[in-house]
Every structure is written in C-alpha cells, then in structure tokens.
C-alpha cells in the first residue's frame, strides 16, 4: 500500500534555529497537508497545499511557517526561529481527490526545541 514518508522521525533543535521537515506524499496525490499535535493534545490543522500554492491555513500558521514543493516529489514545512512551544509531532498528509477520498498520513516528525 502506498505510503506518505516523513523525515526525520525525530529532530532536536536549539531555540531560535530554523528547521525543515520533509515529506514525500503519495505520487498520484494532488492535495497536501501539514498537521501538528502538541503532546497530549488533539491533532490540529496547519495548512493545505494544492497546485503549488497554499489553499487554506489555520491561525497557527503564521509568518514563522512556510511550505514548499521544491520538486515533483517533496513537500516541506519550514519553521523559522523555533520556539519552545513549537515542540510537537508534525504530520504530513496527502489525498488524491479534494472531496471523496481519505487522507493518508505519514508517521510524523517529533520536533523537540530546547
């Protein structure tokens, strides 16, 4: 079964540093997403991406965050000047169709800001 691949699985970074989280969505999927889960809390939507642009973003997704699809396979989330409260599990997801398809999630990147 096709998978969404995320790297790294765990990243530790110093406060104030920039991090890039990487995702390889399923090859024929057109819609891409990032979600975040702070420890012990529910999974929250960050941003959706379609046709090389952001289609929707949440209040969490401020100027500190950016997304990019630098080539035909990768989808990245950049967090500039990380803060302690950015520590969370970040999930990438993709889907083929906007409406009548399920979302496939990656295994997540656990980001720890120290």
């Amino acid at each position: 079964e096709p998978e969404v691949t995320q790297t790294p699985s765990h990243q530790v970074t110093q406060m104030g540093q920039e991090v890039i989280l990487r995702c390889v969505p399923i090859s024929n999927h057109l819609y891409f997403y990032w979600y975040r889960q702070i420890l012990g809390q529910k999974v929250e939507f960050l941003v959706s991406f379609y046709n090389n642009e952001i289609s929707e973003k949440s209040e969490i997704f401020d100027d500190q965050f950016s997304v990019e699809r630098p080539d035909g396979s990768n989808f990245t989330l950049k967090i500039r000047s990380t803060k302690l409260e950015d520590s969370a599990m970040y999930f990438c997801a993709s889907r083929e169709n906007r409406v009548f398809d399920g979302y496939t999630f990656g295994s997540g990147t656990r980001l720890t800001v120290v």
């Binding site: 997403y33 529910k42 999974v43 939507f45 999930f91 398809d101 399920g102 979302y103 997540g108 656990r110």
Partner: protein, 110 residues
C-alpha cells in the same frame, strides 16, 4: 467551524472485552475517518467511513450521517489495541481539511 466530540475520553478494558467509541459532529460531512495513534505516535488509518458500515477483522465502524455520529466497535480487545482513537471529519460547508476530535484513550489490560 465544525465541532467534533468523542466519548468516552478514557476507557480501561480487560483483554477480551468489547467496547464502543462514539464520535459526534456538529455539521454535515463528506469525509469521516477513524485513526488509532499507537504508543510511538503514529496515526494509523482504521476506516474511511463518511456513511454506512464497514468491518475489518475485530474492528467495525458505523456512520449515521443524517444523525451526525459515528461509532467504532472493538471486539475481543487485545493489549495491542491500547492507544488513542481519533475521529476526524471534513465538513461539507467549505474548507479542505480534517478536523480531529479530542480522542478516546484506551488501555487494555491483561
């Protein structure tokens, strides 16, 4: 936006017992999924079930879209079923994203 409530928030079972988890949502949906988050934090997709009933081994799910709820049944529970179960929905009222519930924390004991 759409609201998703799950119950119960916590559940402890003896191995072999059956259970029912509930998900209520506040608006019409065109996507509903159940996930199991394992102890390593991975989200495992269990069902894509915007309506109707599906079964997969010891798990089954039913969504009654007109009444805005979904149920996840776990039969003959095993210790490996432990973890958090999330319901997530995409509303028909616009938006292209899943909204997650707060989850049910399940612990299955020997």
């Amino acid at each position: 936006g759409i609201q998703v409530e799950q119950s119960p928030p916590d559940l402890i079972l003896q191995e072999g017992a059956n259970s029912t988890l509930r998900c209520n949502f506040s608006d019409s949906v065109n996507n509903l999924q159940w996930f199991h988050q394992n102890p390593w934090g991975q989200l495992i997709n269990l069902f894509y079930i915007p309506s109707g009933t599906k079964q997969n081994g010891r798990l089954s799910a039913t969504t009654v879209a007109t009444e805005r709820y979904s149920l996840l049944y776990i039969s003959s529970s095993q210790t490996t079923d432990s973890g958090v179960y999330f319901c997530a929905v995409q509303g028909t009222g616009g938006g292209n994203k899943l909204t997650f519930g707060t989850g049910t924390q399940l612990k299955v004991e020997l």
